[in-house]
């Protein structure tokens, strides 16, 4: 018989090798997959996207900025630009580089796939927001035009990605850029978040962690060079100005109700109490949102808390004649008026 001690040691080695190969994110397999995406076509497409993005925002694009975004050396970036001009995708002038008509439509195609994919992840899957962008970075280079249009049709031809960016139409149309930075608001002014920039990833993760989402109402309280104090859906948030730069806002319409105090959520309803639904938080997306709306949770619906489960969560609510149990995390995203 094999010596048990030796057998255990062999087992430990095999486990360690398997772990080294297949650990998500850090394993060799995951690294190989990531490396494959850094190939030539991906570089070309990423460069085009970056140049387009800067043109859209009216920022000058330089060899250095490309090198910085694509994580390559300036020499490589210069070489890449030469190749792009040789392909007739861009022209170089005194102010930097500019996309040709061909380059423009190529870039828009890539951006369309990227944003459609992000929207797909947000609405149809449970992939967390911090991973939308990196997943789309891979998908944009692999999806064929036919697959892209199938995806678009499947998710209802959306116009905006989950960060609030417009998705170019198949013919390459994009609306003019609107909105301004959160920093431009005066104290006491109301606005709606229309866009949360998803790069750099660390900043985006921090903003998501604060509970911010596109469609949220904000009110500037005050700001200094060190910090910005504002209310988001009535809840006070303090951020560094650098972070707020990633938030784009637009003025709210006249008929929209101004939120001055934190909204009550369904989770705060006590057993036996009744309330009207004000809205479902825009942070609740995809299948869960559709399910709630199918159950009749729409503005104006009366909801009564019926009973708590023996373990305290979920809670059962009377909604339009039916008794439906909801988890606390979801009830907290339904705003009510008692």
């Amino acid at each position: 018989m094999i010596d048990p001690g030796k057998a255990l040691i062999v087992f430990g080695i095999v486990t360690a090798i398997t772990a080294a190969l297949f650990t998500p994110k850090y394993g060799l397999f995951a690294q190989w997959k990531r490396a494959r995406s850094g190939m030539k076509r991906a570089l070309v497409e990423d460069a085009l996207k970056h140049i387009y993005d800067y043109e859209y925002k009216n920022i000058n694009c330089t060899t250095e900025s490309i090198a910085g975004v694509l994580l390559i050396s300036t020499d490589e970036a210069a070489e890449l630009l030469t190749r792009l001009s040789a392909m007739g995708l861009l022209i170089t002038n005194d102010n930097g580089v500019k996309l040709t008509a061909d380059g423009n439509s190529y870039a828009l195609r890539i951006i369309r796939v990227h944003r459609l994919w992000e929207r797909y992840l947000a609405d149809e899957t449970s992939v967390p927001p911090t991973e939308w962008h990196s997943s789309a970075e891979l998908a944009e280079h692999t999806l064929s035009p036919a697959e892209t249009e199938m995806l678009a049709a499947q998710i209802g031809n959306p116009n905006f990605d989950p960060h609030g960016d417009p998705i170019p139409t198949p013919t390459g149309e994009m609306p003019p850029r609107k909105g301004h930075s959160l920093l431009s608001l005066k104290s006491g002014e109301f606005a709606l978040i229309t866009h949360i920039e998803d790069e750099p990833e660390a900043v985006f993760a921090q903003l998501i962690a604060q509970g911010l989402y596109v469609g949220m109402q904000v009110r500037m309280i005050d700001r200094s060079n060190e910090r910005v104090r504002f209310a988001a859906d009535g809840e006070e948030i303090v951020l560094a100005p650098l972070l707020t730069n990633n938030l784009t806002v637009a003025p709210i319409t006249e008929e929209e109700q101004r939120i001055t105090a934190p909204l009550d959520s369904l989770a705060s309803l006590k057993i036996g109490e009744e309330a009207h639904v004000l809205s479902i938080s825009k942070a609740m997306r995809g299948q869960q949102r559709r399910r709630l709306m199918d159950l009749g949770v729409v503005p104006g619906t009366t909801i009564r808390a019926e009973m708590k489960s023996a373990s305290g969560d979920p809670t059962a609510y009377a909604i339009r004649g039916a008794t439906v149990a909801l988890r606390r995390q979801h009830a907290a995203m339904i705003f009510i008026q008692k």
Binding site: P4, I280, V298
Partner: protein, 484 residues
């Protein structure tokens, strides 16, 4: 005339273009949440129509009885004890109630019909191998599956359906949800899991009640960790031989029951752990949502329930099991009777796989039994006994090569197994491996039918098998380090 036509054409093209361009600008104006507004307006319209057309009778508050019952069933103190009592009662009724019909069916199909069938075959002059394959192989395998499987299922499923029909089971899911939420699963998985204690194939079908794709996949893949009724007899037999026998006779029954319940509880633990792991890795991206409707209580419809649970659940599952068990019976007979050189194929394989089996604290007989008994866990023990007799050349026990048998006395089984070289470690690891191995082929087929995905079916098959191999291996090495 011509000119006028051209002019009109020009104006219509201009009109078309202006419409298109305004549509293009409006596309970006309507915003992201146009679907929400549509649903809201549909509800508003429906409300308006309903308020004009529907009148509600007024009277005392509805569901008075429901509310009282609900407050008891979901109460902090009584909710869980009530649930455990009720489920324990259902299991007890199943086990106790199934004993007598099981023995009756076994004596009819195995003890009476099998010899009779053999004699018929001999009478019509069929060659010995045909008699062997059909009467000893196919017939016995089917007879075993029917006698072990049918009575518990015919009792368990109607009871379960009655509880469901009454409205109690959704409350169980409601109470259990917070535990399953922490494992990344749905409260209703507690129901499909419990159903799995009856039969995994039925448990997999029962996951249809889970309407969220990710949580449903989790429930399907982990259902195999519920000890099904094809495995309970194995557990009880082995526990009484290897653990019950260790204790003084007065405590033997208690220790046996404790060991079996321990294995079943370990299964629930693995269900939760694997659910947790899956929801955070492989199934992280699958769409997920939660809502759980608690229907009003209804008096159960007894006859309809009996009919549907017997036809929909019992009959279908039993039929599939028979279809899969029949060829397995033929294979078992053939591998034990076709000789290559001086030994049968089965003996060759047993010798070949024995080192691997020993490494896992099992043996070659168990490995081959689990491979050819993939179609049905019910025939594992009969196969193990037959193969042990075959490979150790014991005489006077059993009915010959390829003819599965069972012994009425646990002590007689123990003698055969000890003669085959079994130790406490073999018994323990067989119990663990019986819990953690691939689902039976009926369940695998059902998983494929439910998921329509080769990937998830393969995963549901491979995960428990790898877990079983790894855990048996570790237990064997640690046991040998400590006790040998």
């Amino acid at each position: 005339m011509k000119n006028r036509l051209k002019k009109e054409q020009r104006t219509t093209t201009a009109g078309k273009e202006s419409i298109l361009s305004s549509a293009n600008t409006l596309r970006w104006e309507i915003g992201e949440h146009v679907h929400d507004s549509l649903i809201e307006s549909i509800y508003a319209d429906a409300n308006q129509i309903a308020s004009r057309a529907v009148t509600l009778p007024d009277g005392k508050p509805r569901f008075d009885f429901d509310k009282k019952l609900d407050s008891l069933i979901t109460s902090r103190w009584f909710g869980f004890p009530l649930m455990f009592l009720l489920l324990a009662f259902v299991f007890w009724l199943t086990v106790e109630g199934a004993n007598i019909p099981s023995a009756l069916i076994a004596s009819l199909l195995v003890d009476t019909m099998h010899p009779w069938l053999r004699s018929v075959f001999v009478l019509i002059g069929s060659p010995w191998w045909l008699t062997g394959v059909l009467a000893d192989g196919v017939w016995l395998a089917m007879a075993w599956v029917v006698s072990v499987m049918l009575p518990p299922m015919a009792i368990f499923f109607p009871l379960f359906t009655l509880l469901e029909d009454f409205g109690y089971l959704p409350r169980v899911a409601f109470n259990m949800d917070s535990l399953f939420r922490r494992a990344g699963a749905h409260g209703k998985q507690s129901l499909s899991m419990t159903m799995g204690f009856g039969c995994n194939a039925a448990g997999v079908v029962a996951t249809r009640i889970i309407d969220s794709p990710r949580e449903r996949l989790i429930a399907i893949i982990t259902n195999n960790f519920s000890l099904c009724n094809g495995r309970w007899p194995t557990q009880i037999l082995i526990a009484s031989i290897f653990f019950g026998a260790l204790a003084p006779p007065a405590l033997a029954g208690f220790i046996t029951a404790g060991a079996v319940v321990g294995v079943a509880t370990l299964g629930i633990f693995f269900t939760l752990v694997v659910s947790w792991g899956l929801s955070r890795t492989l199934l992280k991206g699958e769409a997920s949502s939660f809502s759980l409707e608690l229907p009003p209580y209804r008096p159960p419809q007894l006859w309809q329930t009996l009919y549907t649970s017997l036809i929909d659940r019992t009959a279908i599952v039993l039929w599939r099991a028979i279809v899969f068990a029949a060829p397995a019976g033929a294979v078992i007979w053939l591998v034990s009777n076709i000789h290559v050189g001086t030994m049968s194929i089965a003996e060759h394989f047993i010798n070949f796989s024995n080192p691997f089996g020993m490494l896992l604290g099992l043996n070659g007989v168990i490995i081959i039994a689990y491979i050819i008994a993939i179609p049905a866990n019910e025939i594992v023990i009969p196969t193990v006994l037959m193969m042990t007799v075959l490979s150790t050349k014991l005489s006077g026990i059993g009915n010959g090569a390829g003819v599965m048998f069972e012994l009425n006395e646990a002590t007689a089984v123990a003698d055969v197994l000890r003669a085959g070289g079994w130790t406490v470690l073999t018994g323990l690891n067989l119990m663990l491996f019986s819990l953690l191995h691939n689902p039976c082929s009926t369940t695998i087929y059902t998983i494929y039918k439910e998921t329509k995905s080769v990937k998830w079916t393969a995963l549901a098959t491979v995960i428990p098998t790898i877990m079983g191999i790894v855990i048996c291996f570790l237990v064997a090495q640690i046991y040998r380090l400590l006790f040998v």
